[in-house]
């Protein structure tokens, strides 16, 4: 008869197939769980944030970013806005983003059609709602 070690209930088995004592197997299982939940410390939200629900064409959110005095656009090859959003499941709306009054993005058919995150973790030049990343 074989004794199989089930990680979730190691105490029911006196010995694992690899010869590990049940106490060791239990300790390893506990260690694995601790590694995962220690990870939670890194993910807990300690920051301050607001959220705003846009559901009508009459609503707008605006953010003015003051550029630093030593900012020279010629020093950069590209710029991107990173906007933290959660879309509904519908497709009957467009999302429009303007920069200094000029439309820079019009996402038709809902935000699920948009290009998602891919930007390198470089310089976030301002705090959200939109973070401008320049590189």
């Amino acid at each position: 008869m074989h004794n199989y070690c089930h990680p979730a209930i190691p105490a029911f088995y006196p010995e694992c197939p690899m010869g590990l004592p049940a106490v060791t197997a239990a300790a390893l299982s506990l260690l694995a769980v601790m590694i995962v939940y220690t990870n939670h410390d890194l993910t807990s939200k300690t920051w301050q944030e607001w959220h705003c629900l846009l559901f009508s064409p009459h609503q707008k959110i605006r953010q003015t970013i003051l550029l630093p005095a030593d900012f020279h656009v010629d020093d950069y090859d590209r710029a991107a806005l990173m906007i933290d959003m959660f879309p509904g499941g519908g497709h009957e709306y467009d999302l429009q983003v303007t920069a200094n009054g000029e439309v820079v993005q019009r996402i038709r058919g809902g935000l699920n059609q948009a290009k998602r995150n891919s930007t390198k973790n470089s310089l976030a030049s301002t705090r959200a709602f939109c973070s401008m990343v320049i590189s």
Partner: protein, 119 residues
């Protein structure tokens, strides 16, 4: 899924200006049931010159295993990054007027950190 959405910004928008005004709004049929967008923002620190909020994931290493398993819709790590901007000013238009302090704030409230428009 809640996450960062990337929008290319023409460099001409930054040329010959000391500021950049971004506006975000819906067109079409928003209804608040299925057709809506929740926008999150203002991840500030007390010092104001640091960003402290969800990171821009570069790889799986920037996401959280424990948050993926139960799936709460946001699996990003927190990250602290120095800010380069001189300041920001955020506002919300409800269809009638602009407001600057209507946002519901979560986390540890710090009045100094929510003071918009500082430089």
């Amino acid at each position: 899924m809640r996450q960062w959405y990337e929008i290319d910004l023409p460099l001409t928008a930054l040329d010959q200006r000391s500021f950049l005004t971004i506006e975000c709004f819906l067109g079409g049929r928003g209804d608040g049931k299925e057709n809506f967008v929740m926008v999150f923002g203002d991840y500030t620190t007390v010092e104001k010159n640091f960003y402290a909020g969800p990171c821009f994931p570069e790889s799986d290493a920037d996401t959280s295993m424990v948050k993926i398993m139960p799936y709460d819709g946001d699996y990003r790590f927190e990250q602290v990054t120095p800010l380069y901007s001189a300041g920001t000013n955020s506002a919300y238009h409800n269809g009638v007027e602009w407001q600057e302090t209507i946002f519901q704030v979560f986390g540890e409230y710090n009045p100094a950190a929510i003071e918009y428009g500082s430089s």
